[in-house]
Symmetry: none
Subunit: 147 residues, 2 copies
DNA sequence: TGATTTTGACTTTCTTTGACTATTAATATT
DNA sequence: AATATTAATAGTCAAAGAAAGTCAAAATCA
């Protein structure tokens, strides 16, 4: 098995326990007896946004590479909601969804409030009234996909 | 965790109680087993004016470093941005703003991403193209007001 | 042969350290 | 009382150290 696959496998094993993995690039490279840049290669080819991964890093002393992934149960829940959302969403229905999201820990309160504000009539003032609910539906779906 | 982070954390803990922190540089350095100038490093990289901190100091016997946080500054920063935002905002200009917000710790990356998605052309698909930039401006202002 | 993987030299960013400088307060001297 | 000296602080700046990023050449695989 090639080394990139082994590294990928190793990272995925750490993911078993949580949705965040923090790596030290050079130790990992040592561990697999490869050059550090191979870690970048693995990350950039396997832990990509399209697969629900998000990567942050920092250089310098105490540097790190942090990979987060969209939790899979969350992922399922999100897709089910996206299915349910039709082509229109009123402000009040959105509020109900948002409360649910908070209850299920999909969002924290601040984020929920932010979405509420973003999708409010006030924000959508310039949009024709008849179209607002459609825009809201599109926006919420898009947001959910990217959470 | 690296030493600068520990020092930052310690100072932030003192801030829990009040809006002013008075430090003795060398004792702090002793406490964290580092050279005194590291305290300056921490202050100059983390307790910066952009984030609403104001630093005073005095040398000589009984010298000190005093950090105050201006609660209003973040708010002032937000208001100044709201002023600056005109009636239209393109997707690309929004990206610049969001980067600034992340840099100034006004938003974390996920929240910024969420806003980006919410205000994207994809979300605003049903809105007339000519109107999208206006809607974006309204939305961002509303979001900022409610942060 | 074309795509993927491996390697490594070079770059960039952030942190730590320490030598040297500047300022202030306290104390001693005139 | 005014002035000089000493001690106690803090500030500055650049070098060294500790990561991670980039990019393209070389190697390997299908």
């Amino acid at each position: 098995m090639k080394i990139s696959d082994l590294i990928e496998q190793y990272i995925n094993e750490i993911f078993e326990g949580s949705d965040v993995v923090e790596l030290n690039r050079s130790s990992l490279a040592d561990m697999f007896n490869c050059v550090p840049s191979q870690i970048n290669y693995v990350i950039s080819t396997r832990f990509i946004p399209e697969l629900g991964f998000y990567v942050e890093s920092r250089r310098g002393g105490g540097g790190y590479i942090k990979i987060s992934r969209a939790n899979s149960t969350k992922q399922e829940y999100i897709s089910s909601i996206i299915q349910k959302i039709g082509s229109k969403l009123s402000q009040s229905v959105i509020d109900i969804y948002l409360d649910d999201f908070i209850r299920y820990n999909l969002l924290d309160k601040n984020t929920a409030l932010l979405i509420k504000v973003a999708l409010s009539d006030k924000s959508l003032n310039k949009v024709d009234k008849q179209k607002r609910d459609e825009v809201r539906a599109d926006m919420l779906k898009n947001i959910l996909i990217n959470i």
